[in-house]
Every structure is written in C-alpha cells, then in structure tokens.
Amino acid sequence: MMITNGIEDEEKWLAEGIAGIQHNAFYLHRALDSNNLREALKYSAQLLSELRTSRLSPHKYYELYMRAFDELRRLEMFFKDEDRHGCPVVDLYELVQHAGNVLPRLYLLCTVGSVYIKSKEAPAKDVLRDLVEMCRAVQHPIRGLFLRSYLAQVSRDKLPDIGSEYEGEGDTVMDAVEFVLQNFMEMNKLWVRMQHQGPLREKDKLEKERNELRDLVGKNLHVLSQIEGVDLEIYRDTVLPRVLEQIVNCKDELAQYYLMDCIIQVFPDEYHLQTLETLLGACPQLQPTVDLKTVLSQLMERLSNYASSSPELLPEFLQVEAFSKLSNAIGKVIEAQVDMPIVGAITLYVSLLTFTLRVHPDRLDYVDQVLGACVKKLSGKPKLEDSRATKQVVALLSAPLDKYDDIVTALTLSNYPRVMDHLDAGTNKVMAMVIIRSIMKNKTCVSTSDKVEVLFELIKGLIKDLEGISTDELDEEDFIEEQNSVACLMHMLYNDDPEEMLKIICTVWEHIMAGGPKRLPFTVPPLVFSSLKLVRRLQGQDGDLAGEQVPATPKKIFQLLNQIVEALSVVPSPELALRLYLQCAEAANDCDLEPVAYEFFTQAFVLYEEEIADSKAQVTAIHLIIGTLQRMNVFGVENRDTLTHKATGYSAKLLKKPDQCRAVYACSHLFWVDDQDGIKDGERVLLCLKRSLRIANAAQQMASVTRGSSGPVTLFVEILNKYLYFFEKGNPQITGSVIQGLIELIKTEMQSDSTTANSASDAFFTSTLRYIQFQKQKGGAMGEKYDSIKL
C-alpha cells in the first residue's frame, strides 16, 4: 500500500509541477510576444523554479525537465534577437544573474551563455569556463545532473573545436576538452553521490534510479570522442588520464563499471591499443566488486575485431605488446578482486584466449601462457563444482581446438592437461569427447608417442576410472559411445616409422591397461589390430631389414600382443580373446614365426577348453579355429597334427549332432589346402567327410526316435557339396561312385515316409543336382570328370 501511495503522490507532484510550468509559460509567451524582457525574465525564473522540487524520481523529473527545456528553447530564440529586447547580450549575461534562486539563475545563465557564444562577443572558452564553474552551485544530485546535462546540451555545437567557427586563438581544443572534462567530472561526482541520498532501505530503488541517469554522465564521454581536435596525443595525455582518475577516485561500483564500458565503446580502437597500459592500469584500482570481466572482455573483443579488420594492424599490436599488457592486467585484476568468483577469473582468461587466438594465432606460447595463468588460479583449490565455472573452463579448452582444427597443436600446450585436471570427472569426460571429436572431424593424425602420451593424459577420464566415480553409475549408452570414440581414436594414432609406431602402441597400452573390465573389450581390439597392422608393415620390409638390429621386430610386437590379449581374461571375454588370438596367430603365420603362432593357438584352445562353455559360442569358436588353422602354413607336421587333431576332436565333441556334423566336415579342409604347396591329404579328408556322414545319420536316427520323424536332409546335401568340392579339387579319394552313392542315399532318405518334407532342403538338393548336370554338360576336363556320375 505504501508503495502505491508513493507512486500516486509522485504522479500528483508531477502534475502540479507541469501545471506550474504551463501557468508560467503562458505569461512568458505573452511577455515574449510583447518583447518585454523584464517580464520574460520574471516568468522564466518562476517557471524554472518548478525544477527545484525534490519530490520526484529521476524518471518523473526528466518529464518535468523536458517541459522546461522546450520553454528555454523559445527563450533562447528571444535572447538571440537583440532588436526585440534591446539589451546587449553582455548585459543580459549579468542581468539573468540577478535571480535570487540559484537553479533558475543557472538555467538562465546557460541559456544566455549559449547566445553569448553564438554572438562571438566573447571567446567561447571564457563563457564555457564560467558556465561550468558557476554550475558548481547546484550540489543536489538530480538537479545538478539535469542542469549540467542542459549545459552540455546547449554547448555541444559551440565548443571551440578545431575547424569549428568558435575556434579561437591558440590551443582552444584544449579548452573544449577541459570544459567537457570538467562537466563530466562534476556530473559523475553528483551521480555517485546520489546513492547517499535517502534512507538505506531504499537502496535498491536508488540504484535503479541511478542507473536511469547514467547516460547523462556518459554523454560527456561521447561528446569528448566527437571533438575533432582530440587526437591520439590529447587523448593519451589528457583525456584518458583525467577520465580514469575520476573513475578510480569515485570509488563507486556502478559508475566505475559503466564508465569503463563507456570509454571502451566511445573511443576508437586505435586509441585503446595505443593507451592500453593506462587503461588497463586503472582496472586493478577499481572497486573489488566491479564486473571487470565484462569490461575487459568487451575491450578484448573490440581489439580483436580491430586486429582482424586489417592485416596491417598486427605490427602495431606487437609493438605495443598488447598481449602481455592484457595478460598482466588480468592477473592484477584477479589479484585485486579477492572476492571475484572463480567463474569470473576463468571468463577473463577465456576472453584473453579468444583475443590471443584471433590476433596472434601463431603464438602458441601465448596460448599456453593463458592456460598456465588459469592453472595457477585454479591450483590449490578443490575441483570445480560451480557449473558456470566448469562451462567456462570447457570454453577455455575448446577455443584452441576450434581455432587450430588440430589437436596436435593443443597437445604441445603444456598447461592444457593441467587445466583439464581441475574439471570434475563428468566435465572432464565431456571435454575428452570434444577433443576426440575434433580429431575425428579433422582427421588429425597423432604421430608421436609423446603426443599420444599427452593426448591420453587429456582424455584419461574416458580411459580409466577416476577417483570418486564408479563405472556403475554411468549411463550405459553414454559409456558405449565414449568407449567407441576411444576405439576410433586409436586408429588416428599413426607413424610411418615402425619404431615410433611401436612406442605409440606401448604408450597406448600403458594407458588402457588400467581401464578395467568394462573398458578393455572396447579398447583392446583396436590396439590389437593397430599392432597387427604394424606387424604386417614390418613383414613387408622384412627383406630390407634382415640382419639389422631393429627394436621394432614382429617378435617383440607379438610378445606385447600376447600381454594385451591376455588382459581380457580379467573381463572376462573369452570369445573376444579367442578371436584376437587367432588374428595374432594368423599374423605370426605370415611372419613365419611358428612358435609364436603355435603359442597363440595354444592360448586359443586353452580358452576354448576352459572358458567357453556355452554351446553356441563353442560352435562359433570352433569354426573360427578351423578357419584360421586352415590358412596356417607355418607349422611343421607335428605341430600341425597336434592342432588339427585338437580341432577335429573338439568338433566331434560339440553338443548338438548337426553342429558336430558341420564342424567335422569343416575340419576336412584342414587336410586339403588349395595352394600350390598346401597340404593335400585326401585320405584324411575322406575320413572327415565319412565321419560327418555318420554323424548326420545318427542325427537322423535320433530325430526319428525322439520326434517320430527324421529331420530334413539338409546335412546330407551339405556333405554332398563338400564331396563335390573335393571331387573337383582332384582329391583322389573322392570318386564319382562315392558321390553317386551319396546322391542315392539322399534320394532314398527323401522318399522315406519318416522324412519330413522341407522345401528349403529340397531346393538345395535340386540345385546341387542341377549344378552337377551343368558341369557334365560343360564338357572339357571337368565335364569328363563328372561323366562318371549318373543321375
């Protein structure tokens, strides 16, 4: 209720004030129309007396002021015309000073003063100096501000600037500057003083009201910037030091913030660049609560825009050491503002970094310096918990990545990882992902182990569990995405020099081995394949390097691989390990390293025996083993026998009959390698096939016992196909008659009542027969061969 009343009262007071002005304006107009100077002065003084009120808020006072202002314009027109009032302007200048009340007196004096300057009967500088001095008499903040704002308004176009018609003898630009500076300083003092007017409980309201008036003060700086004669020298030696002195000395947060911002906005960038030291020197002297980060960010943004406007400007930036000055200033500001929240400090560094990246993209040392300063600020503090601060750190770290499109550049920044250390685990991961994405996007190749070391240090949040965060709490999908990213990343680590590549691999391994069971399944395969790639590269160069003592030998790599794959046992992930062992074995085979290959197979079999219990997994595993083993040519007879024996043995021991059957006929390939000097043991091939036929038979019988009908003939048809394969390959044990017999068998089976008709297997069989027919008709050697088979 009180507030409402307050507002209503104010409206009432304003209305009264306006009525007072209108009333006196009526008589004033009459006096002006009849050219009656005395009456005009009387009524204008009375009219202006309405501005003496203390009851209005700045907003309402402004309304009143504008009304009076309009009337003063009329009065000024009248004063200008001496014919109308017959009083020389110099006398008029005295006459208006007879007014008893100071406020109307000074408004009138400013009005006549404006006419006086225009008449050129006195030098502009003298009149201006007198006016600005006399205005001291109004010490009431709001009234004083408006009065001086009026003075600024009427004098704007009458400053003795260079090229102005009011330019006098000698150095009159300085007079113009001096006048505006003086008015500015007085206005600022009044403005600052406003906060002490009125009760403490209305502090917020006062602040708001003050804010409404700030442009009155700032306008002066704008006027200064518009003075033609203010060149760099005057700005540097007079304007800036004086303005800053006022800003620093007023010790007021609101004013300091606003005015610093004003300076930055109204004066040219070129001046800022050349006076950086002075401008920045003022910053640490400001009140500790001033929002300097915004001010300085503005400045740096302007400067970097300026720098990018023309490449010729860069030498200037270097010459004035813009970077080190800014950097120093920021350091000092942070030191001075002890209560500045960490987010403020980091925001400052982000701005500085942005500036650096835009102005000095080639100066990585600068970038590192900024990060170093940030580390210093963060050190000794617990991890960041303020989410805004964290955001700023992410911005800080992302900036170089965006700029350079090349993580390698960032990796040379020694302080980069140290900044990351201050992030909480979650953000650290986010940042790590940003880094990886940047690498992937730009297809950056990380080519030395040192860089890899740094890189993995950076993304360690993804590589291993960090303190306090257990992997259980993680979102499964996010986790998978992260780990896949890490896997992708590994393929970006590459060096043509095998030795360095090996180092890279070792480095990566050292990092990922700590990753724990959840991560290893993701990280081990890419590393294994990356290593195998290296192996194959070495194998290609084998000839050249033979006899030399090279540190990166396939043997060494295989030793490492052994360790790497073995690490999966903690997961445990036997299927994956098995596949990797087989990959390794194959590579070892290609390198002609029989013992190594054998060892890998041994590991694979051990896993098969001890870890793979699921029957489906077993089927897959055994087929993998068979497939790999088939391609191995490094083994001597003995080793090969051992391994093939094992493989066939396990094949026959699979749980389901059809699985057994298929594994066993697959084993037949182990004895017939279709190579120039591959093994070609036709007998054992036949043995395998026969064994699989037996198993197929057993399967049929089992089916008819348990279900009342035997299964489809699919298995038989499959075996028939194997027969045909070996037949064509020229296995002497596989003859046309054997095939003929099998075909008969299948036909019989199909006609038997107990056999369930199955269109798929029927079709399979029909197309197999068609194939035989086709081969027969083709003629040639193959046709002859097939002749013996009668359908």
Binding site: G100, V102, A137, V138
Partner: protein, 301 residues
C-alpha cells in the same frame, strides 16, 4: 504644518529652480508619503545657485517682513518625529520687508557648500537636504516652501582593500572556509568569492548569502538598532561533500544600498554585513556575518 497652510489659500506661489536644473542629474527620492519624486543631485562643495520666483495670487499683494532662503541639512529621528536637527544651516536674505504685487524673481547662491553627509532614508532616521524659502509675515504667519535635493558624496576606490577570508565551523560537524574578494565594495560592485567545504557532517539543504543593513540611532542607553535584510541570494542548492567549492558572484546593482555611514553627526550609523547562511534539512540555520564597507564610486571613475 503643511496641512495648516493647505487649509487656507496660499497668498502666493513660490517656486525654486536651479540654474543648471536642466543638465543636472536627477535621482529618485522617496517622500514621506511614499511617493517617489525626481530631485536634483548635488555633491559636497558644489555651488548651489538658482532662482526663486514669488508670484502673488492674481491681484493680491503680499506684505512681508522679509524673504529668505535657507539651505538646511537635517537629521530627523523617527522616535522624535517632526523634530529636526540641523547640522547645516545657511541663510541668504532675498528681500527687505516690503510688499510684492507681481511675480518677482530672486537669484540666490550658496557657494562651495560643505555637505559632508549623504541623503539617507532609513528605518528610524532620515537625513535630508532642503532649500527652505520663508516669506515672513507679521500676523498671518509665514509662508514657507521647501525644495528637496539629494546629496551624494563619491569616494575614490580605497587604496587598501583586502579580501575577507575566514575559516569557521562547528566542531566535528561543519567546517568551511569562505572568501570574499574584497572588504570594501562600491554600490554597483560584484561580490566574488568562494566557499570551501572542509568538513560536512550535516545534511545541508541550501546556502544563501544575505546582505544586511544595520542602522543604529541614538547613543548610549537610547541606542536603537534596526537590521534589515536587503538581499537574500541563494548560493547553493543541495548538500555538498567535503572538498567542494562553491562560487559566489553577487551583483550589487539590483539592491538599494547606500555607502556605509559611520557615526553621522553622533546621531546614527549605517553598516553593511554579508551574512552567509547554511540551512540543514531540519531547517536549522548556521550563519556567519562579516561586515563589509560600502562606498559610492564616482560615476565616471
């Protein structure tokens, strides 16, 4: 007296004209009845010459025991109204006893008249100069006519004219230093100066500079003092803070001032003071009064 004369038809018409009446400067003079008339201005040691015409009402003769003109400098105290004290009294006999039938002109001259005091119209005292023409008659009472004139005495600018500078204050409350550029001002002068605020612990609302006139009449236990504020000039609006300095520029010409008069014929004195008044938000007044000397500067100099 006048009303008595007014009751009867005057026997004749008397008028006084000064010989340089057309060229002599005229200044306003406030009469007792409140009217302002323009009268000639003289300075001390000037010759006062002119003509007096006596013109009987048509067809009547005026019989008299002699005609004289007196130049009187009179001080009149208001508590003793009607009782004039003549500090200057010069007489010129114009005619021996006889009769006047028609208009008759009498030239007169008072040469280098000492008129040390200025014409003054105060609250309790009046100093005036007058030419008094008296036609003495035995039985019907004398016929008298008065012609006022004003005397101003110019002073040269004082050879020593120090500024007034003073630091005053209330302990731990208000401390100011003020400075007026002179201690002696002429009547059309401008008072320039500054007020420095050295310590401000009270909330000042405004500050005025007053010009006060202190007129003292009588002497000893009969002294009457009357103080008037002739000017109230606002110097400052609002509350200054420590370190502020406020300019003073007060034009004296709009105000009706006289020179300072010290002990005029042991009857009265008129002194001027500048009173600096600070008013705080509770309307308490803090002031400091300083005497200034006023003097009349010659028009030409």
């Amino acid at each position: 007296m006048n009303f008595i004369i007014g009751a009867f038809k005057p026997a004749c018409h008397i008028s006084v004209t000064f010989s340089d009446g057309k060229s002599r400067k005229q200044v306003p003079l406030k009469k007792e009845n409140g009217q302002t008339i323009m009268v000639p201005l003289f300075h001390s040691q000037e010759n006062i010459t002119g003509k007096i015409s006596v013109e009987p009402i048509s067809g009547k003769k005026v019989e008299h025991n002699g005609i004289k003109v007196e130049l009187l400098g009179q001080i009149e105290m208001y508590f003793d109204k009607g009782n004039f004290y003549d500090f200057t009294s010069l007489v010129r006999e114009l005619d021996v006893p006889g009769e006047i039938y028609e208009r008759k002109i009498f030239p007169f001259e008072f040469s280098t008249v000492e008129m040390p005091y200025e014409t003054y119209n105060g609250v309790n005292v009046r100093l005036r100069y007058v030419l008094k023409v008296t036609i003495s008659r035995g039985y019907a009472g004398s016929i008298t006519e008065y012609q006022d004139f004003v005397v101003w005495n110019y002073s040269p600018p004082p050879s020593i004219n120090n500024s007034i500078k003073m630091e005053v204050g209330i302990e731990d409350c208000l401390h100011i230093e003020f400075e007026y550029n002179k201690s002696k001002y002429h009547l059309k002068d401008v008072i320039l100066g500054k007020i420095y605020f050295l310590l401000v612990r009270i909330k000042i609302k405004n500050m005025d500079l007053e010009i006060r006139r202190r007129e003292s009449t009588g002497s000893g236990s009969n002294t009457h003092v009357e103080t008037e504020t002739l000017a109230k000039f606002e110097l400052m609006d609002g509350a200054p803070v420590r370190g502020e300095s406020i300019p003073i520029r007060l034009f004296l010409s709009p105000y009706e001032l006289t020179p300072t008069y010290r002990n005029i014929n042991n009857k009265f004195s008129v002194k001027y003071y500048l009173n600096l008044v600070l008013v705080d938000e509770e309307d308490r007044r803090y002031f400091k009064q300083q005497e200034i000397t006023m003097y009349r500067l010659g028009e030409t100099s």
